[in-house]
Amino acid sequence: MARHIVARTTEIPHGGNKVVTLDGRDIVVFHVNGEFFALLNRCPHAGAPLDKAACVARLTSPEPGVYQRSRVGELLRCAWHGWEFDMRNGQSWFDPKRVKVRTYPVVIEDGETLAKGPYVAETFPVHIEDSYVIVET
């Protein structure tokens, strides 16, 4: 497993994302309320880029006219056909077992730790006072 530094934590605002290429794959990293999620930047339906997806609440309803919201910002509505995916585990809404986006583990590490190594050297400058988003492929 390779570990890649993809960003400083301050680089991606809450509700935003950053796309990086790791091992030949486009990976999108989302930031929601201090948590970071990394997914393959390709919708399994028809290949749409998920970095352009709408980040919305998880929406359920017990009966017509009632709208229950939770986990605001953690669901992705794909930029093309609107399929919904859970950022945390990549599962699609309509068929969570069989249709999902590949996800990648993310850890946050501070510069001091990283400066000691090891990490994949992709000429990403590391400052010990910052925190960094690490994606494992």
């Binding site: 290429t21 091992d23 030949g24 794959r25 486009d26 393959l40 930047n41 390709r42 919708c43 399994p44 339906h45 028809a46 290949g47 749409a48 880029p49 352009k52 997806a53 709408a54 930029a79 093309w80 056909h81 609107g82 990549g90 069989r98 249709v99 999902k100 986006v101 590949r102």
Partner: protein, 370 residues
């Protein structure tokens, strides 16, 4: 079976090597702003456009009462970085769509301005002319891959025919377009002067979903949701096909070719079976039909493929294709709309080389004489 796509992306949307050149039969260019039409409008109509604007059979001036599931019905990644709505920037359209997908030709379908549905018929005539000129000035003269259509408001047949004449002389247009949601079903006699001209000129008649004809999207009343209204487009196409065939349009205009655009094709086979099933019983009503209805469909109608059907099992898509007939199908993307079909991924059933060539290229090439 997991449907996780997990393959390396080698290059970020580089222009594809030419394996199969694609003819995309449904691309939607947009105005930046309505004032873009001013150069093609007289002072009177510029003023009218700014003040009274649209007069359509719908409650709102600026939007549909069935809000779409994404802004401007578009893919969220189709907003040009230079500004303007999706589909308004030619360079971005080239970079995002025409180049990487190796589009050889793209047939333009202008939905802006609701040409087909304007209640003020003089205004409608003015803007249809403006839009037809705008297509040439802003799109086809700058990009040879893109092809224009003569858009006409079908409910004023005389004005429609006059506009067809004007555009035909210019010679830069490849089809004549009307709306399926007209004041009356399109097979009705009042529209025949348009079909007569189309047949004489040897130009296909294009019918793209949409329009504000004033009827509810269903025969049983007004739906509450976009989810219902969106699917009603297929129903309107089925009813339009029925009207055209039963009124005798292909019987009366045997050289006329008719293209249904953005209706998809899943509904066609059952509609043909139903027409044939009841033909004998109702025959006395339609003695002008010399052949079975499905025969007219197989000889006079073409159908663009988007939105493609997505059965749970890929082999069922194969059945749909075979029931309609590969020769009837024309690939379309519907770029930049949200339910766009990517030619690389839309057909989840294997196609033979010959089938692929027909659906993605040679059927359209022959139909539009490209």
């Amino acid at each position: 079976m997991s449907e996780v796509i997990d393959r390396p992306m080698l290059e970020q949307e580089a222009p594809a090597k030419s394996r199969l050149k694609i003819i995309d039969c449904d691309i939607h260019p947009s105005l930046h702003a309505r004032s873009d039409l001013n150069p093609f409008l007289s002072k009177r109509w510029q003023e009218h456009l700014k003040t009274y604007g649209d007069h359509l059979r719908t409650p709102y001036i600026g939007t549909t009462p069935y809000p779409r599931s994404s802004p401007l019905i578009a893919r969220r990644d189709a907003w040009p970085p230079t500004g303007g709505p999706p589909g308004s920037d030619l360079d971005f359209m080239r970079k995002q769509h025409l180049d990487p997908l190796d589009i050889e030709f793209g047939m333009l379908q202008v939905l802006d301005m609701f040409i087909f549905s304007q209640q003020n018929l003089e205004f409608g005539a003015a803007i249809q002319r403006a839009v037809n000129e705008w297509q040439l000035a802003h799109w086809t003269s700058r990009e040879p891959r893109l092809k224009a259509a003569i858009l006409v408001g079908q409910d004023d047949a005389a004005a429609a025919v006059a506009e067809i004449e004007r555009c035909a002389k210019i010679g830069q247009y490849l089809q004549i377009n009307v709306s399926p949601r007209a004041n009356e079903p399109l097979g009705r006699r009042r529209y025949w002067p348009i079909y007569a001209r189309a047949e004489e000129l040897g130009m296909p008649l294009g019918i793209h979903v949409g329009g504000y004809g004033g009827h509810a999207p269903t025969g049983g009343g007004w739906p509450s949701y976009y989810a219902e209204e969106h699917q009603s487009n297929a129903h309107s196409m089925a009813a339009t096909l029925t009207s055209l065939v039963l009124e005798g349009v292909p019987e009366h205009f045997p050289r006329l070719k008719i293209v249904f655009i953005e209706g998809g094709f899943g509904w066609i086979s059952s509609t043909m079976w139903r027409m044939d099933q009841h033909f004998e019983r109702f025959r006395a009503e339609v003695p002008h039909l010399k052949r079975r209805p499905s025969e007219y469909v197989r000889e006079h109608f073409w159908f663009t493929t988007q939105p493609i059907d997505e059965p749970d099992e890929a082999r069922h898509l194969r059945s749909l294709i075979e029931w309609v007939g590969v020769d009837r199908l024309l690939f379309s993307s519907d770029y930049p709309h949200w339910d766009f079909d990517d030619p690389r991924f839309a057909f989840k059933t294997p196609l033979s080389e010959e089938e692929r060539a027909k659906i993605f290229n040679s059927n359209a090439r022959a139909l539009y004489k490209l």
